[in-house]
Amino acid sequence: MPPIPEPQLDDLYRELILDHYRNPRNRRALDDPKLVGEGYNPLCGDEIEVHVRLEGGVVSDIGFTGRGCSISQASGSMMTEALKGKSLADVRSLIAAFTRMMTDPDDSAPPAELGDLEALQGVAKYPVRVKCATLAWHALEEGLRQGGK
């Protein structure tokens, strides 16, 4: 059998994604979280829980737990890295920008604020995997809603 068609799969599984999958950052529950949100993907049964601690309206710590595929785990890991130290307004803006990147595959230039998260852009071309990439983000949104803020 010929080797894996690299360009195509590599578009989805960028090295950065595989790295976060193998070595997830902030993969832990927080002791005293201000916000807790759960995300569930009925398609595959994957679950993610996001914990956020706030200090002075700024994300002072954030962690996630749960199980899922490489995309959902990497997205959760990258999300926690991107959000640490951000204000709630920045968090909301990042959620919006990430969601736009995932749901509009023609949006060729993701905004700079997404930083490393841009690596997940290739997922938008795999419609069934978009829900994997947005799982942690939906959990975060759920936490924000529950937090009433």
Binding site: M1, P3, I4, L12, L18, E47, S70
Partner: protein, 412 residues
């Protein structure tokens, strides 16, 4: 001898490539591909005798009615139903089971009555009973499985009791491939005064099924899992049971005499077929049955036992690959659920797809079974008449590539 190459020639879709590779279609438990005879039957219907059935006085209506009813007779013969009017057409196996839950369950079940199911049921043979149980106050009991995914005999012998009104069990698991001893279960259920529903969505397409031999009261399956078009389901039900049931859906076709205040019902089976049915797809389903009869269901089963045995052997050599369900091909169908190390089945499925290999990845509409197996999801390869041993080799090679692909990340 089963001539798989000749069979493949009858399926136009097998000519196509996916991502530049020949299609290796191993998702047959979800739906099967269609032979040219079925596709032609659809076209022929629309080009030559499209008409509404049972009411028209013109030639086209008569032809369409004749072909629609001809399929009913073919289905009855295929599962050896004693009478043609015991075959009811629905949209799919799910609707067939819902029909029983509504038309039989709501009429006969009372608070405290028990329905015995198993932990391996597809959601289609679980949710209708949950809804019914909630409505009438019935109780659901569940037969557990052993380590190889076989029903625990002690469990069903114990659970089927005086309070049991219905035993609803899958003939063949869509995840584990387990073929359940439905005939024995039915015998015990009848002894204890319960009726038996068999979810045959995975068995009728793959092995000879005889409703009189099984001695079941209801049997549900879907046409699209056996070479037919989507949108056609079948419910076989014993005549005496059907006669004692209320209608399912109300409307045209299912009535006899209608006044503004009340109505009487049409004869069997039309009492349970309200509205214009899926005429074209039912007609083409007849061509699918002809095709399977041409192959012979014993031969189909033999071919799949060969493929399942080969797959168990070849896949069993892949390190870290866990296979669920019975280890012997003789006791199972051509459905192999697996997990590869701690890799998520969605990742496995995506990489296999890049090789043109189509498998299913997920919970397979059997979330309670996933929980029972202690997994979130699995991959699943499922075979049919056009699959070859070399496609199982391709799957094995693909799985090795998946391991290499994700293994790379740890070393880079």
């Amino acid at each position: 001898m089963f001539d798989v190459e000749a069979v493949r020639g009858d399926f136009p879709i097998l000519q196509r490539t996916v991502h530049g590779k020949p299609l290796v279609y191993l998702d047959n438990a979800a739906t099967t591909q269609k032979p040219v005879a079925v596709i032609d039957a659809l076209v022929e219907y629309y080009e030559h005798y499209n008409a509404n059935i049972h009411r028209g006085l013109h030639t086209l209506a008569e032809e369409a009615t004749a072909r629609y009813e001809e399929t009913r007779a073919k289905v009855a013969g295929f599962v050896n139903a004693p009478a043609t009017e015991e075959i009811i057409f629905t949209r799919n196996a799910t609707e067939s089971i819902n029909l029983v839950a509504h038309a039989w369950g709501r009429k006969y079940l009372r608070r405290g009555d028990e329905i015995v199911l198993t932990v391996m049921e597809h959601h289609s043979n679980l949710i209708p009973w949950q809804l019914l149980a909630r409505e009438v106050g019935a109780v659901l009991r569940f037969v557990d499985i052993d380590d190889e995914g076989r029903l625990l005999r002690d469990d069903w012998e114990r659970l089927i009791g005086a309070k049991t009104k219905l035993v609803a069990v899958t003939h063949m698991s869509n995840v584990l491939g387990t073929i359940n001893p439905v005939k024995e279960i039915a015998a015990l259920a009848h002894q204890r005064g319960a009726l038996v529903l068999v979810d045959a969505a995975q068995s009728v397409p793959h092995l000879p099924v005889d409703v009189q031999e099984l001695d079941c009261d209801f049997l549900a399956f879907s046409g699209h899992k056996m070479l037919g078009p989507t949108g056609v389901g079948v419910l076989y039900a014993r005549r005496g049971v059907l006669e004692g049931m209320d209608p399912f859906l109300g409307g045209g076709e299912m009535i006899s005499k209608v006044t503004l205040e009340e109505s009487t019902w049409n004869e069997l089976p039309w009492k349970y077929e309200a509205g214009t049915p899926n005429i074209a797809d039912v007609v083409a389903f007849g061509a699918a049955i002809d095709y399977l009869r041409g192959l012979g269901m014993e031969s189909v089963r033999g071919h799949e036992v060969d493929l399942a045995g080969y797959a168990l052997e070849v896949l069993g050599r892949i390190p870290e690959l866990v296979i669920y369900g019975p280890r012997e091909a003789a006791g199972r169908g051509g459905v192999i659920a697996f997990n590869l190390g701690d890799l998520h089945p969605h990742d496995v499925g995506t990489v296999l797809d890049s090789y043109g290999i189509a498998i299913r990845a997920g919970h397979h509409c059997a979330q309670p079974l996933m929980r029972r197996l202690g997994v979130v999801a699995t991959g699943r390869a499922s075979f049919y008449v056009y699959n070859r041993r070399q496609e199982i080799d391709a799957l094995a090679e693909g799985l090795r590539e998946v391991r290499r692909f994700f293994g790379r990340a740890t070393h880079s």
